[in-house]
Symmetry: C2
Subunit: 266 residues, 2 copies
């Protein structure tokens, strides 16, 4: 048996999120269908995925793993699978990893990008991948808010109900804003994310940049955990799981209480 | 009566091209429907469009014009129209122009961009807007071919049958290649384009860059008009009408024979 780490890119527009669920077609279903056909095993299941991306969220670098006895050369796996995958989900890299590897538990850092389209009118060519904002936006003020969010904090104010994680302390390693014409990309890297955390942080920076929320709210949201001091949850289509970094074993942050997995839902 | 010049952005994926035709829904139909509803005139027609983009071709800066007695303030036109347009077609600018203005006859220069996605595997996030190429590609060789194509030539070898233009002499003002990671953009500016000219030039540069066609073929195609010395017509989804420049009256190139309009089909 070999354990294979597979990197996936997908356009989440047509899907009800990554994880299998009763309503709507999911990315996981499509990937497992392709693997079942390729491996000739009607019961095949993947072992895990780095991020549970929500309905409508995209990925450039989602990571999954699975175990198999089938011995396709490792660099041929993406070609073999892509023939069986729809055009909006494709494998872009494959790697042999140690048997104990787990795409979720071994993830040390993940990078999400939230994309804004900042122009007077909405853009047909960006409408599926960027959130349109037609009014004032002060990028310097957004960067001030971003600087407050970087670091280790209790992000209780930046989560939606429905997440499984018990602890809401996370470390945001970086929160950067890059502008290229009308496109503004908010990149965020952390050791883990709470449910809707990136979309709420994006909404908070937007409201600060639009002059609709004082910078002091951000500090207070971090200090008190008061959800009303953070911004609205922005829609999923602006969000993309860009990259996942792995260590050489399961991640277990020092701040995590005994008996908790510290797992996240995005 | 006022004459209005309107700039449109659209995602051509779902449409049978710009121009009204019996089979399939076109951009023009959708725009005229929106204008009919806005103006309360069930027979309203636009006056013309800068480029007749083909089925599946996109636009960042298509230009149309129309005449109306309705006196909406000029900067409100895009807002009023966009409410009545689908999300994949939007107005992005409006301008009052002289009564004699014609979006097609007054166009002096147009810029199209053909986008390649150059990486081992196809990209779900670029699949609708870029042509995937997974093999070798020598950008320097492509630039050498581009340099041959710039200038005034008879582009008879770079057209598909079905175009209306009688003269195939055109001036390519520039043909540039820009790379940004896996994205390669071929930008081409000319005084006019023959039917499929950009997609054939893109196919020619691709074949030269892939080492499948000698540079000498390009020179010969330009010299002899031999279609077999130029490359294949690449698919429409990589193509986008980016910008149109206007002069202060109808364009009439000096090389155009008497009695010919010199109009183009893309």
């Amino acid at each position: 048996m070999r354990t294979i780490k597979l990197t996936l890119e997908y356009d989440g527009t047509a899907y009800a999120g990554f994880q299998r669920q009763p309503n709507g077609v999911t990315i996981q279903e499509k990937v497992e269908e392709a693997l079942r056909s390729l491996l000739g095993d009607p019961d095949f299941k993947i072992g895990g995925a780095a991020g549970r991306t929500d309905a409508g969220v995209h990925a450039l670098g989602q990571v999954i793993h699975f175990r198999t006895a089938v011995t396709i050369p490792i660099d041929r796996w993406p070609y073999a699978l892509n023939q069986r995958l729809p055009a909006d989900i494709q494998a872009v890299a494959a790697e042999l990893v140690p048997d104990e590897f787990h795409a979720r538990y071994w993830a040390e850092r993940k990078r999400y990008v939230y994309t804004f389209y900042h122009a007077p009118f909405p853009s047909p060519l960006h409408r599926l991948y960027a959130y349109h904002w037609g009014r004032e936006l002060d990028l310097d003020r957004m960067r001030e808010a971003a600087a407050l969010i970087e670091g280790q904090h209790d992000f209780a104010a930046f989560r939606s109900s429905g997440g499984a994680a018990k602890t809401s302390v996370r470390t945001v390693y970086r929160l950067d804003l890059a502008q290229e014409g009308p496109i503004i990309r908010m990149g965020i890297e952390a050791d883990g994310f709470l449910y809707n955390m990136v979309r709420i942080i994006a909404g908070t920076l937007l409201e600060v940049g639009a002059g609709r929320r004082p910078l002091a709210d951000v500090a207070e949201a971090l200090r008190t955990g008061d959800r009303t001091k953070a911004g609205k949850t922005l829609p999923p289509h602006g969000l993309c799981l860009e990259r996942v970094w792995y260590g050489s074993g399961p991640k277990r942050p020092s701040w995590l209480p005994e008996g908790e997995t510290g797992l996240d839902d995005e």
